[in-house]
């Protein structure tokens, strides 16, 4: 297989996996956060803040993956 094609393939699959991971992570984070807010609406503000921070951290990890994919895409181009 052509290395360029391999690189593009790798970039595509990698981006998909990175987004998948981030999606699972944020989903697992948001579900209990909503539950917690529903149970204790008065703690909603705190829960939301820490949820956003945690989501940003998860997203940061996913972006690392995406950047590698970007490199691969660059190799392909």
């Amino acid at each position: 297989m052509d290395p360029t094609a391999m690189a593009w393939l790798g970039a595509g699959i990698g981006a998909g996996l990175a987004v998948l991971g981030a999606g699972i992570g944020i989903g697992r984070l948001a579900g209990p956060a909503m539950e917690g807010t529903a149970r204790q609406p008065e703690a909603g503000g705190d829960i939301r803040t820490s949820m956003i921070i945690a989501a940003a951290l998860i997203e940061g990890a996913a972006f690392f993956g995406l950047i590698i994919c970007f490199f691969l895409q660059g190799k392909g181009a």
Partner: protein, 166 residues
């Protein structure tokens, strides 16, 4: 090519950016943030202060109200006490008056009774003396005159009759 361009740091730009940000930080710190944050703090302090003073005023008002209530209650109680005292005093005075009157009446009665007794005793004494005199007179008369039985009876009767009229 472009992806690499996107990810590769540019040292010249980094130096420009550092200078720009330092300058921005310096200018804003010197001419903006200080004034703004101190103004905000000042306003917050004043708002805080006015809230506190309002709280204080409210507390004071409440205290004054409580004082007023207390004073009124006390005055009420005092009035009640005075009323009760007055009633008690008047009651006492009345009963004392009654007692005194009763005593006086009693005393007067007793005095009257004693007077009557004395008068009676005096009268009795006088009577007794009279009776003795009369008895002596009667005895003298009896002794002076010789009298028979019938005359004696008549004499005694007339004596007793005398006694009765006296």
């Amino acid at each position: 090519m472009l992806a690499v361009n996107l990810l590769s740091p540019n040292p010249g730009l980094a130096i420009w950016m550092t200078l720009t940000f330092l300058l921005l930080l310096f200018i804003l710190r010197r001419f903006a943030w200080g004034t703004i944050t101190s103004a905000l703090r000042e306003r917050e302090e004043r708002i805080d202060e006015s809230i506190k003073s309002a709280d204080r005023a409210l507390a004071e008002a409440k205290e004054i109200q409580a004082d007023n209530m207390k004073a009124r209650r006390e005055a009420d109680q005092q009035a009640q006490a005075i009323l009760r005292e007055a009633r008690e005093a008047s009651e006492k005075i009345r009963s004392e008056e009654i007692d005194k009157t009763r005593e006086a009446v009693q005393r007067m009665q007793e005095e009257a009774r004693a007077e009557i007794e004395r008068e009676k005793q005096g009268a009795l004494a006088a009577l007794r003396a009279e009776v003795a005199d009369l008895a002596i007179g009667a005895a003298g008369r009896i002794l002076d005159e010789n009298m028979d039985g019938d005359r004696q009876r008549k004499l005694v009767d007339s004596f007793i009759q005398d006694l009765g009229t006296n």
